[in-house]
């Protein structure tokens, strides 16, 4: 069961906070997805390859540690 907000609390929230600081607003309206440029897409693919390398290194470290 929800409690009613007092007028004072409501006024306080609406005056003190910027609109996109209100939790309801943030939950229901997220930043849109960024459109990546060609260079950025290439960078992200390089990042994916780096990710594979990174996981491999960590797994190797754990494996050598266990041995």
């Amino acid at each position: 069961m929800s409690a009613e907000v007092s007028r004072e609390e409501l006024t306080s929230v609406m005056t003190a906070l910027e609109p996109d600081q209100i939790v309801f607003t943030k939950e229901h309206h997220h930043c849109p997805r960024r459109r990546l440029t060609r260079n950025e897409m290439l960078l992200f693919w390089a990042l994916r390859i780096y990710l594979v390398f990174m996981v491999g290194v960590v797994v190797y470290q754990i494996w050598t540690g266990v041995r």
Binding site: S2, A3, E4, V5, E9, L10, T11, S12, V13, M14, T15, A16, L17, E18, P19, D20, Q21, I22, V23, F24, T25, K26, E27, H28, H29, H30, C31, P32, R33, R34, E40, L43, F44, L47, Y50, L51, M54, V57, V58, Y60, Q61, I62, G65
Partner: protein
């Protein structure tokens, strides 16, 4: 949760963030100057007249009310003139920057500074540490702008702007790294209190209790003040350094000349340099500061104070780091090998030089370093989880409403604490693994940060100017390069030997 069924809403007219917020009725808004930059442009329509939004409800939460109370205090103070109101405003707005910088002076870091002082004395590493904190300032300042402009945490922005894959990757990567780092923090807590004869289980459980009690305030503001107070104990290394009666002329000369560097630039020294540069900024720092700024409710009007907060934090952390190095310099001067020292061993080795109370202060400092870092690191994990999993995530929440947030925080810390108490666990190996994961996780984290802070759609006029971008890019490249080289040296030591060095 609360509702305000009859109040016209600040509805959203467009999915695009640049029009992400309809203007509220101007009479309801905090007055702002015409020249004030805003990260998010306000749409022109008056939402009360907007037929598309009439009748929509905004749900006001406990979190909103608490945050609004904090912001009201800021507004009231800002409206007053004079020195004392300015000082109070400063007091109200500082926090995230100091916490993140002093939190970075965690247990392993302080032990690393102690080992550096014992190995190299007062010389090259004095200005070097100052430089690393300056680099950290450059990086952390970007999170200040991001948090204040977007009111969102770092993980949330990555998720929204770059997609769920990178959002979940960043969060999981952070949580794994944080978990292992938390293990090292509880090692430091155990070691620090071990000097006083406290049993490991008691030390670790007491630390968990402190962490839990701090959360029971359910107010970001109160939690922040408590942790700030604890973080100030990082400066306990200053009296320890003073007890060694350092030669200040040597310290001053080292700051200016970057000398001496005992043994010269050997492979070992290069590895120490790479490790220190690579560890200047760790992923949790980026996530924590931005999320804390969003949770604290800072806005674009507060960015200047956010920068001051960050620089002040870096200055305090630098002082503590240098003090630790200076405190252990007597071990270098007396040719004592401290290569494998743990916290209690440093304190015991220093006792002949600084007395029992000085050694006790040193051990207490290590405990504090581990304690504060454990709190801030576990909080950063909880923030990131909440942001990506779309669960409520704020220190203003009661436990019932922020159950997932608090459980992640507590369980991660508890699991790390439990691991430390398992007999025979290879803790030294875990410390090494933490270093490797931390340096490997930095490149994606820094890349996302750099892209987000230059994202005009979300930053508006707050995107970095060219000179700041050049500086930031330079720092990012140095951090990534050093980290990767260190990582390679750990995985394949011979690879670095092929490059050069004595």
């Amino acid at each position: 949760m609360y509702t305000c069924a009859n109040y016209p809403t600040s509805g959203i007219v467009s999915r695009s963030l640049s029009h992400c917020v309809d203007g509220m009725n101007d009479s309801m808004k905090e007055p702002k100057t015409a020249s004030e930059p805003r990260g998010v442009a306000l749409a022109q329509s008056n939402v009360l007249n907007d037929p598309r939004t009439s009748g929509d409800n905004v749900v006001i939460t406990h979190e909103d009310i608490d945050r609004a109370h904090d912001r009201e205090r800021v507004s009231e103070t800002r409206a007053r003139r004079g020195f004392r109101p300015r000082l109070r405003l400063f007091w109200l707005l500082i926090g995230p920057g100091i916490l993140v910088m002093l939190g970075e002076n965690d247990g392993p870091s302080m032990l690393s500074y102690a080992a550096t002082g014992a190995r190299f004395g007062i010389g090259f590493f004095v200005p070097f540490i100052v430089l690393t904190f300056a680099m950290a300032c450059v990086v952390q300042e970007m999170t200040v702008r991001l948090g204040a402009a977007t009111h969102r945490g770092h993980a949330e922005l990555i998720f929204d702007r770059f997609g769920p894959f990178w959002g979940w990757f960043s969060m999981i990567d952070l949580m794994v790294g944080n978990f292992l780092t938390l293990v090292t923090e509880f090692i430091a807590i155990r070691a620090g209190l071990g000097f006083f004869g406290v049993r490991p289980a008691v030390a670790v459980l007491s630390a968990l209790l402190v962490l839990s009690v701090a959360l029971m305030t359910h107010r970001y503001w109160t939690w922040e003040r408590i942790i700030l107070g604890a973080a100030m104990f990082n400066l306990v290394f200053v009296p320890v350094a003073l007890l060694t009666h350092p030669h200040w002329g040597t310290v001053g000369r080292a700051l200016v000349t970057w000398r001496p560097l005992p043994g010269g630039l050997t492979q070992e020294t290069v590895l120490v340099l790479l490790a220190d540069i690579g560890a200047t900024v760790t992923p949790w720092m980026l996530f924590f500061q931005q999320s804390a700024i969003a949770d604290k409710g800072l806005t674009t009007r507060d960015i200047r104070f956010g920068r001051v907060d960050t620089v002040l934090g870096a200055a305090l952390a630098t002082v503590a780091a240098l003090a630790t190095m200076i405190a252990t310099a007597p071990l270098f001067m007396h040719h004592m090998s401290a290569a494998n020292f743990e916290a209690a061993e440093f304190a015991q080795a220093l006792q002949p030089f600084i007395g029992h109370w000085g050694a006790a202060l040193f051990a207490l400092g290590i405990f504090e370093a581990g304690m504060v870092a454990a709190i801030t690191i576990s909080t950063s994990s909880a923030y990131a989880f909440g942001e990506v999993a779309r669960r409520p995530h704020s220190l203003n929440l009661p436990f019932k409403q922020g159950r997932a947030f608090y459980l992640v925080l507590l369980l991660e810390a508890a699991a790390a604490a439990g691991l430390v108490l398992i007999p025979g666990i290879p803790l030294v190996y875990i410390v090494l693994l933490v270093n490797v994961i931390a340096v490997l996780a930095m490149p994606p984290a820094l890349l996302f940060l750099y892209m987000l802070v230059n994202d005009r759609e979300i930053m508006g006029k707050l995107v970095s100017p060219l000179w700041a971008n050049v500086l930031a890019l330079g720092v990012v490249i140095v951090l990534i390069g050093a980290g990767l080289l260190f990582g390679i040296s750990v995985i394949a030591p011979h690879a670095l030997a092929l490059v050069g060095g004595k």
